[in-house]
Symmetry: C2
């Protein structure tokens, strides 16, 4: 499988892509430093909240008795006049700076939308060349590659959308169907079936299979009965099928004459 | 113990102070909402970091082999071109807003520096009236109060400082000594002994006990040998003591005459 050559055309060099892997590793380190700093900050805030929480619960039970203790009165003044302000400063302290500036610096070397689209199209070409189905690619069962890599629902959807933008309804169908399959198999995703079914039925319609397009539109409307475009499509597909059926009947009658 | 009357003069009313207890309770609730939101945000970021961390470790082991898989190449492009940006938005998303605006609104009803000083002075007057030592007050062993309340090292220091600002070296000494005692007993604090010893020795000197002031200055210099003011004081106190000793000798000789 000569996969390397497949994306030579969309990104300068394999050397440059290797650099990006190291950049990403640095960013992860920087991100983990941020996480540590934020956890530490949050731990201090939680300790304060817990202390105040139990103090407050005690005070509220008997406010006058509580404030009758002059130390409590003094400490309440001190907390409100100075300590809550200190806590505010802690809450507002910025822990993101190191990570964000690191990301900003590295971003100038990042691939662009064009590179992402290029990589997607290279993958689609590879799929055709080696006649691989979407499921084989998505589950990482590519022949001849050492590093198995799974595609998520989002990855499949992204590929489908890129094909769609390219007026390539054949690959749109394959990858929206794959995204849907993975969603049906229980994969967690922020994507919903309605979005996928919308692309799927439209790309099938564009390939002339009105009955199948209608079936998926009906599936979509079961999930979202008020989906405006799907409601329109349902009528249109049914009208087209009816027209086709009549044309077939007429052709049949003519044949019988 | 008529403690209520002791702070009537520094804060409008006990009713107002009771309101502040409820305000504080609301702020704690609002703070806990912030903590929950921030923990949730941080959890998402950690999941991303963990995913990227193991992916990166795998990729770095064999960059060319890894990138030889066209799905990996596509996913790397997608991550760098879109997903890191999404993560950046998440990192920069503001979870503090609700709590901070709540605090800002409530702050207009908060006590001022004057109120805090007033509460402190009321406590010092109470100490004199009932002849209570600092340790009794700080450990909450006040007679006749139901709600035992402990003072921290910081609370004691704060009282001492307020006395100091009032040129009240007697109470400065009592409360700095109490802060030091609690620190020596192992209480956790951000305050250091050097700061406390500095106030303590100065307030003792101001009360005319040069030998004791010298002893505490020596303790301070053991902890921080380069402390400039303490180094100056050491010489000055020793000079004063020497002068006193000579004056006493002279008086003794005169007495013998």
């Amino acid at each position: 499988l000569q996969s390397l050559s497949a994306y030579n055309d969309f990104y300068t060099s394999i050397g440059h892509m290797t650099d990006l892997l190291y950049t990403e590793k640095d960013l992860v380190t920087s991100l983990k430093d941020y996480i540590k700093a934020e956890e530490n900050k949050l731990e201090q805030i939680k300790q304060w909240a817990d202390k105040l929480d139990s103090l407050s619960a005690k005070a509220i039970q008997d406010p006058e008795g509580f404030l009758g203790h002059p130390v409590n009165a003094f400490k309440l003044m001190k907390r409100l006049n100075t300590e809550w302000g200190d806590l505010e400063s802690l809450v507002l302290s910025d822990t993101t700076d190191g990570f964000i500036s690191n990301l900003t610096i590295q971003r100038q070397h990042f691939p662009t939308d064009e590179d992402q689209t290029g990589a997607a199209k290279a993958l689609l070409r590879l799929q055709d060349t080696y006649r691989l189905d979407a499921n084989t690619i998505s589950t990482g069962d590519l022949p001849g590659v050492k590093h198995k890599s799974l595609m998520t629902v989002e990855d499949c959807y992204e590929l489908g959308k890129i094909a769609y933008s390219d007026v390539d309804y054949y690959h749109t169908e394959l990858w929206m169907a794959q995204a849907l399959r993975q969603l049906d198999q229980g994969e967690e995703s922020t994507l919903d079936k309605v979005t996928l079914l919308d692309y799927l039925s439209y790309s099938i319609y564009q390939q002339g299979e009105i009955q199948r397009a209608l079936d998926f539109t009906k599936q979509l409307l079961k999930l979202d009965p008020e989906h405006q475009r799907a409601k329109g499509n349902l009528k249109y597909f049914e009208f087209q099928l009816e027209k086709q059926r009549k044309a077939d009947e007429d052709a049949g009658e003519k044949g019988e004459e």
